[in-house]
Symmetry: C2
Subunit: 490 residues, 2 copies
């Protein structure tokens, strides 16, 4: 380990007072750029904040703030007692699912580095980031009014321990909404409130999967599901998807043999990451597989609310009567992620086990937001918001498609743009998507690498481009920059 | 299974319009009493809501409401397609840790029925309930003001995905408070925000305990810890406690041999349920054990804020420099349970693993309450509230001790009342605490059975009497009723 000497660092940090940018921001940017450009190398020690502050002639606070930000984002690593170092794995590299984790699929606490850019990059709202809704279009004033109202009216009963299944009025409101809009078969009694789809999938693992069990996942698929479903020591079995969704013939073949396939995780409304919806025959074949194999289907009804080419499809859960589907939904993308409210619809036979597991996880969800959300749905704000957002997202998607055809047509091929808040694209042969993601980060863009969504060895190289969180002007500008990055890389 | 015929039920349900009590309340009370008095038997089917409503001559809504409440509380069980039944295990029985669960200690998802009365009994605020703070004394107006302020000011950055470790300002505020008030050694960088102590213990299990590992727990001890620490398939090893806390000599003996003891879970400030604090020599011996055995200590600093006889003791965590202690705290009892904010202080060597596990669990905690809580601490409201509550709880405790000595002196022996929000008592020889708990429930009192806190076969019979959530008048009245129940049982 070599320590960065101060003169080296000082050259990298042309800190300038009164430049319009705050000092901590300048220090942060300078260090981050130096790390990304490999001028500071992985594992290198950086000077103590006190020393750097003194040499830069600034107070310690901006240096501390910059270090803290870089530590939080994973550019620096702190080792207590021995100082601060340039991280050995950078967050911008982190979308790559490390080969090691693919091999050791049965590790009890699998690495979630695949999720890192999405969640550790806290507060960053950069173009192309996937799973980000239009936070600027959210009805803030109405929401704040409801929050204030419920905060003022908080009774001891609502401040005390709550029902692990969730607040009754919210469960009833969600059940009614889902019956009407998603053709889901459910009563409020089957509805379990949790803190998002990650927690929901985690619960599925706890209840359904024992060590050594096998669970089918889509290939390519949602990296967050891998980390959640792998926690109890189950083996993840990747099953290829095609234009109709998960390949049930392949699934059937993989299910034969000694070890039982306990469950299959699918995203029928809007396959993550590729975007197509599961065809009706495929849905029926999958349900037949579950019945025949006595297996469970975990339906993640991700991004089902937004379809741009035809009516949204009903949920798989509503197509069968045998109670073999566990339905997972979340408000993270239809309202906002920091709300932390998601839900499961649980077949009656599994209810007690799910509630007990939910209770052992963290007892129950915070009450205030459940009450607020119940009002928001019951008073019609939620449906109005969804309806309005369909128009907003359609315009943003169109801006993206237009920008891509103008600026990136020779570099990217579009896979599907019918639904959801992102489009999936492939890069021309030989292009390395991880490398594009790194270069894009330097230009303050946050596409995600398609290759990170594969668990197996054969990976397509491509980009996932989120359009939900950015207005048309930003999207257009971002596609121009992306085109430049892609051409410069040739 | 025998179905309850309607005439039978009608006799049990003297529903009366205009009696001052709402219809659904009358139906609920009647059914609940009939179940508790065993006039409706476990497993018996109750009529469909439509049928009962018709026979009672009321609309279906009050019947539905009553059934829903009874289902939520566990008095009834629904089996979809086949109707509603009197539960086979009643919530009032549920404090008993079933012998089966004590034997099958390695079950991957242990039953949490031991927690059921605390959490499923949602919204009920009955005298003697443990772990319930003085919700009536909470500075509601100030809190509501802060909530409204942050709800209005919610930026896109605060609505988006947050840092899995928690919001920076809150982590800094908690770290500062703990350094000052609990003599804890920590930086904000070691502080991980989670949704309460249950989630914190669950994370400890995920990171520290693999299937087959052994973890020491106190005997008697906190039932919630059993359900959380048992989730990853570790074996729970009960270690007796005496007046000085966990018996380290016994722990040392149990640690010898083939299978390694990976960790010990302890409540040094206020042993749950017995109430004493761990002596200084015992603390040093425990730390020495951890170093020597290369084991971890999970310190649950439960109820440390309230001591009535001497100054609060510093945390175990602050007594050592080897980073072998994971410190767990929560705001459930110092503010209110429905807040769902707790935290861990994690040794640097384990930090990355804990953050990754926390992220895989449910990404991050809701942002709004973290911002509100940070302000509440930084503006001094928290420390003022704690200071004021010490006086409130002292008066409530004194009312309880006074009432017990007047009304229950011949029936109960007090074990410890130096700290916390409940006192532990033992019953005279031969008295069955589960039975007392059932009878007390009929009188709207919610003591907990001491015997349920034991994992092994030898159990003391006694009552845990919470005093935090009830004013002096209610406490005095409740002790009188308790005395009558105990004498009637002789």
């Amino acid at each position: 380990v070599r320590t960065t000497t101060s003169p080296q660092l000082l050259a990298l940090l042309p800190v300038e007072r009164g430049s319009g940018s705050p000092l901590h921001q300048q220090i942060y940017e300078g260090l981050r750029r130096a790390i990304l450009e490999r001028r500071l190398r992985a594992g290198q020690r950086v000077p103590a904040t006190r020393v750097l502050a003194c040499e830069l002639g600034v107070s310690r606070l901006p240096v501390l703030t910059a270090y803290e930000q870089l530590l939080h984002e994973g550019y620096l690593e702190g080792r207590v007692g021995s100082g601060t170092f340039v991280a050995t794995t950078l967050p911008d590299d982190a979308l790559r699912a490390p080969a090691a984790s693919a091999r050791s699929r049965r590790a009890p606490a699998p690495s979630v580095t695949a999720l890192a850019p999405r969640v550790r990059d806290a507060g960053r709202l950069r173009p192309f980031r996937v799973s980000l809704p239009a936070l600027d279009q959210f009805p803030h004033a109405m929401w704040a009014r409801l929050v204030a109202k419920h905060a003022r009216a908080l009774t001891p009963a609502h401040m005390s321990y709550g029902d692990p299944a969730g607040v009754g009025v919210l469960r009833a409101a969600i059940a009614e909404h889902l019956r009407a809009s998603r053709a889901v078969r459910c009563e409020a009694e089957q509805l379990l409130i949790v803190s998002g789809s990650q927690a929901a999938l985690r619960l599925c693992a706890t209840v359904l999967l024992a060590p050594g069990d096998r669970v089918a996942i889509e290939e390519p698929g949602y990296p967050g599901a891998r980390s959640a479903l792998g926690t109890t020591g189950a083996t993840l079995v990747p099953v290829p998807v095609d234009v109709g969704g998960i390949d049930v013939t392949a699934l059937e073949k993989l299910s034969a043999g000694a070890a039982r396939m306990r469950a299959a995780y699918v995203t029928p409304s809007h396959q993550y990451p590729l975007g197509m919806s599961m065809s009706a025959p495929r849905r029926l074949a999958l349900l037949e597989w579950a019945r025949h194999r006595n297996a469970w289907i975990i339906e993640d009804d991700y991004d089902s609310e937004y379809r741009y080419v035809s009516r949204p499809l009903g949920a798989l859960q509503g197509m069968e009567e045998h109670g073999r589907v566990i339905y997972v939904g979340t408000f993270s993308k239809v309202l906002f992620p920091a709300l932390r409210v998601g839900y499961l619809i649980v077949p009656p036979a599994l209810w007690e086990q799910f509630v007990a597991a939910r209770e052992a996880l963290d007892l129950f969800s915070p009450t205030l937001y459940q009450l607020v959300l119940a009002d928001f749905i019951r008073e019609g704000h939620f449906v109005r918001h969804l309806r309005r957002m369909r128009g907003v997202y359609l315009r943003r998607r169109d801006a993206l498609l237009d920008g891509l055809s103008r600026h990136c047509a020779d570099e990217l091929e579009l896979l599907n743009a019918d639904a959801g808040l992102h489009v999936a694209t492939t890069l021309r042969a030989g292009a390395d998507d991880e490398d594009v993601v790194r270069r894009a980060a330097l230009e303050k863009l946050s596409p995600a690498a398609l290759s990170a969504c594969y668990l197996g060895g054969e990976r397509r190289s491509g980009l996932l481009l989120g359009f939900g969180g950015f207005n048309e002007r930003r999207i257009t500008r971002a596609t121009r920059t992306l085109g430049e990055i892609l051409r410069a890389q040739r």
